[in-house]
């Protein structure tokens, strides 16, 4: 048995282990790994994400258990101090020694700290490890406590420096990036793209200072500022140095390995150092007189070293390393590939720049216009993968090469075909060296049957993830070519889309969930397909949630919204937000009697919180006796139609928005849909009802109403788009019937109208054709179906309080009338709230 010792447990060291165990058998080799940091290898590329979630485990490449499972001895928190290469022996800081047959040096690098006077002052940090980050965060919060407008600078405007800039913003400090060169990311960008990126960064609140040579760190013991030249200084409370890396090559130096003049352990194209059983990989290795500070070349080195040790002598490093990169800096795409910029005698450039949208695209082509030499993308790198592949595979450029970056004029569609047109050898995932052939053949030879399985099998997309769109396209297209359909099925129990299932249920006349499972599904169902089927039954047969309560989402089952401590909220319908004083008094009385917290909702109604399950029927009985109905706030159904006060009172009003809002809310109340539905009616273009933030919005204009559809607030706000102009009340209802019914039939579960429209082929133009011109010849059917639902409306709370059987559902315990003694409320501003969560 041979012993392989890996010194360094960073990304490249880990990759070596992963490749080694997958290619060797564990009874021939024993792998021992030393890591200096306290935790197993983590994803340093995405280090700045640690600021957002502070979850070190999320960055972990593999948990400690993985090493154990693969018989790797992982020794963390231990530094290797010396190599005795004559005895094939290493020594650790704790005085132990180990012998090896092969030694892998993957010690990586340290941040380069330039010799600036005052660099040792308190408040100066480097950006490399999770511990560095933790110290920075602790320091930043100290600053913020005494100085809310504290400032931090990053020395170095390279890739890592800009990542650090994001980290500083996340910490809540004013961010400044200071760069010695006259441009940002000097290796990857040309001056114009740097200018575009700078504009964007400044727009986001990061100030950029270029051509600044820092010659002094100011301050007494603690940093107070940076001095660049005479009368040129920047006051800062904190400094993060990100000015490049230096290989951690001390071990190589002390044991007499051949070294580069400016550091780095010299390796050949087999990753071998001057000692034949010692290999160096990653940022410590000097290959072709270069240190490669990117993860992809590091992974390739790890692969070569593994193959060399296992006797696959023919696997060697390529002559030229691909230094292409694509990343998202604070949400901004930045990519460069091949030769990003060069003098004119080497090639010609095609440049597109739009500073108003922070866009810059440049490709460099050979003088004969046939070959792509490289390029830069800032602001939109959607085309990076395919451009990069064209460059790597030497694919001939089309006649109008400019269409590669500005898009084809005339008919839509891009100048290049799909990823399927690439040769099988094209490398799709450069981090994991996965070719197009690897991906497609894993499907074709039956090893994988889905995207997930392809990823498991090939490891594609598991590095930086930049290749994901191409992998998805390849998988979908390959499956299609094999005659397998790729679609959004509901779940493992129903292999249909919601739209297909809707058709099947209707045609077969299926009326219960079990019948649906037996006739067109399998298994016993789940929390995804049950509510989806319930929604379909509601649309086809107008079943209320009381019909089959166990397939309803919990809120529908108990006809109320479950709140943080398991109590419920009660929201009666208040159509259009119009309510009489008498009804207001009833709400007040009920809330008082049951001790409920009351709040006005965003949809112009009143929410009563903190009701116990056992009290719901009695509360609703009182409300129903006073003339209220269910507000369906718990359902995927119409919530409210919000209105402004309109022409009855408002001196600007063009029409009666309240009356119309009430009419619409009364019409569509109770109707179940794939997701919640909200509406709004404004009496004039001042738009006080915010109708364009709703799934449907109606705004009074000269000569009628303008009808807008497919808007929403929420996490991704969308303005509703104009469907029809200057139409009368009847036409609004006609179009809304058609629109809503078409949406209800064809959307996926939990898809709001805006997302649905985005997926609808042909978009808004197509929707107009269907709704207004009746291009599918289904308008009459849609209207009839909608009218049927309107006529069959029943208040499900009325059903519940009148039916004793249904009433039994609302008991916390089935075997006693006792209440849930676990419910705890605490006082808040003269009302109450649930006791806060502690976990």
């Amino acid at each position: 048995m041979k012993t392989v010792i890996v010194v360094g447990n960073g990304m490249v060291g880990y990759k070596f282990c992963e490749k080694f165990v997958s290619k060797s058998s564990s009874d021939e080799y024993k792998l021992i790994v030393f890591g200096e940091e306290p935790r197993p290898a983590y994803d340093r590329v995405h280090l700045s994400e640690y600021f957002e979630n502070q979850d070190a485990n999320a960055l972990e490449l593999a948990p400690a258990s993985w090493y154990k499972e693969n018989n790797i001895e992982l020794i963390t928190g231990q530094r290797v101090t010396d190599i005795k290469k004559e005895n094939k022996e290493i020594h650790t800081a704790s005085g132990k020694s180990y012998t090896y047959d092969y030694l892998i040096l993957a010690t990586g690098s340290v941040p380069f700290v330039p010799p600036i006077s005052g660099v040792e002052k308190e408040g100066v940090f480097v950006y490399r490890t999770i511990e560095d980050l933790e110290e920075m965060m602790a320091y930043a919060s100290q600053i913020k406590a005494i100085k809310p407008n504290g400032k931090a600078a990053i020395l170095g405007g390279g890739l890592l420096g800009l990542e650090a800039g994001k980290a500083v913003l996340d910490m809540g400090l004013e961010a400044h990036v200071v760069e010695f060169a006259p441009k940002l990311m000097p290796r990857q960008l040309d001056t114009r793209s740097s200018n575009v990126l700078q504009l964007k960064l400044e727009d986001m609140g990061i100030q950029v200072h270029l051509s600044k040579a820092t010659n002094k760190i100011l301050g007494d013991k603690v940093i107070e500022g940076m001095e660049f030249g005479e009368d040129d200084r920047l006051d800062v409370d904190m400094l993060i140095i990100s000015a490049g890396i230096r290989p951690r090559d001390e071990l190589g130096k002390t044991c007499g390995l051949e070294m580069g003049t400016r550091g780095g352990i010299i390796v050949d194209n087999r990753m071998r150092t001057s000692a034949k059983d010692i290999f160096a990989i990653g940022e410590v290795a000097l290959y072709n007189q270069m240190i490669y500070g990117l993860v992809a070349p590091g992974y390739e080195m790890a692969d070569v070293a593994v193959n060399q040790i296992l006797g696959n002598q023919e696997v060697i490093m390529p002559e030229d390393m691909d230094m292409s990169t694509k990343l998202k800096l604070m949400g901004v795409d930045v990519a460069s590939f091949g030769v990003p910029y060069m003098p004119a005698e080497k090639g010609l450039s095609i440049i597109f720049e739009n500073k108003t949208k922070y866009l810059y695209k440049r490709i460099n082509v050979s003088h004969d216009g046939k070959t792509l030499l490289g390029g830069i993308l800032v602001g939109d790198a959607a085309d990076y993968n395919i451009l990069h592949q064209m460059y790597l595979n030497g694919i001939a450029l089309p006649d109008n090469a400019e269409e590669l970056i500005v898009g084809a004029r005339g008919e839509g569609g891009s100048a290049f075909g799909s990823a399927m047109d690439l040769p099988d050898t094209a490398q799709i995932c450069s981090c994991e060296s996965v070719s197009k052939g690897n991906i497609c053949s894993s499907l074709l030879n039956g090893k994988s049957n889905s995207l997930k399985e392809v990823i498991n099998c090939t490891k594609a997309t598991t590095g930086c993830g930049g290749c994901k769109p191409m992998v998805v396209e390849l998988v979908n297209e390959t499956l299609k070519s094999m005659g397998k359909e790729v679609k959004d099925v509901i779940c493992e129990h129903f292999e249909y889309t919601r739209q297909e299932l809707y058709g099947i249920i209707k045609v077969k006349g299926i009326t219960s969930y079990d019948e649906a499972l037996d006739k067109c599904g399998h298994g016993d169902g789940c929390e995804v397909c049950k509510p989806a089927l319930a929604s379909i039954f509601a649309t086809i047969y107008n079943h209320t949630a009381n019909k089959e309560d166990v397939i309803q989402d919990s809120n529908d089952r108990f006809l109320a919204n479950i709140q943080r401590n398991g109590s419920y909220s009660v929201v009666p319908r208040i159509p259009g937000g119009e309510i009489t004083p008498d009804k207001l008094i009833v709400l007040g009385d009920v809330a008082k009697q049951y001790g409920l917290y009351t709040k006005i909702t965003g949809g112009q109604r009143i929410d009563l919180f903190g009701a116990e399950l056992n009290d719901l029927p009695n509360i609703w009985k009182k409300l129903i006796d006073a003339g209220f109905e269910s507000g369906h706030a718990y359902g995927k159904s119409l919530r409210t139609v919000k209105s402004c006060v309109g022409s009855t009172w408002c001196r600007y009003g063009m029409d009666e928005s309240v009356s119309f809002a009430i009419a619409l809310e009364e019409r569509y109340k109770g109707i179940r849909s794939p997701h919640k539905l909200k509406g709004g009616v404004s009496g004039c273009i001042r738009e006080c009802a915010e109708a364009r933030g709703k799934d449907f919005g109606v705004i009074a204009v000269e000569g009628g109403w303008n009808l807008y559809v497919c808007g929403n607030g929420g996490a991704t706000p969308k303005h509703a788009q104009l469907l029809a102009e200057q139409i009368d009340n009847e036409t609004v209802i006609k179009y809304l019937d058609r629109f809503l019914m078409y949406y209800i039939r064809t959307a996926a579960p939990l898809m709001r109208t805006a997302a649905w429209l985005e997926k609808l082929e042909g978009g808004m133009e197509q929707l107009k054709k269907i709704v207004i011109e009746d291009s599918l010849n289904i308008a009459e059917e849609l209207e009839t179906d909608m009218q049927g639902l309107v006529e069959k409306y029943e208040c499900e709370w009325k059903q519940a309080v009148e039916n004793e059987e249904i009433g039994r559902r609302f008991k916390h315990f089935v075997n006693t009338d006792e209440r849930d003694d676990n419910l705890v409320f605490v006082p808040m501003r003269e009302q109450k709230m649930p006791e806060p969560w502690t976990n």
Partner: protein
């Protein structure tokens, strides 16, 4: 909150010392659940009609420590009977109590038997 969670530990069939008469069969909705009180414990009881089986587990969801699991939807994941918490749709195996879509602690499960129309839950204390 932790103390609340500690109250519940799983009971294996051969460790049952008390068969608690919880309710009648028809008190629990078919393919749904309800909550049973036993001493100071809250137990979720499900009648999984499609599998012709009964399941019982703690009512407490370990995610946010709320007494709500009995109100969740049941179903299966690749054949394993499961319940989805109504709060955030965390799913747990009704066979083993294991969290199926995350790494929350397992929930305690209890044996159930039905005799003469009555449902009994097995406890060891």
């Amino acid at each position: 909150m932790e103390a609340l969670f500690q109250q519940y530990s799983p009971v294996a069939l051969d460790k049952v010392t008390v068969w608690f008469k919880a309710c009648q069969e028809h008190d629990i909705p078919e393919n749904g659940g309800a909550c049973v009180k036993y001493k100071n414990k809250q137990i979720a009881l499900y009648h999984f009609k499609r599998k012709q089986k009964w399941y019982a587990c703690q009512n407490l969801c370990p995610h946010k420590m709320e007494m709500v699991l009995s109100r969740g939807m049941i179903g299966d994941s690749e054949g394993i009977a499961k319940v989805a918490c109504p709060m955030h749709k965390k799913t747990f195996s009704l066979e083993t109590g294991e969290n199926l879509n995350g790494d929350l602690p397992s929930i305690a499960t209890f044996p159930v038997k039905v005799e003469n129309g009555f449902v009994y839950i097995g406890f060891s204390e």
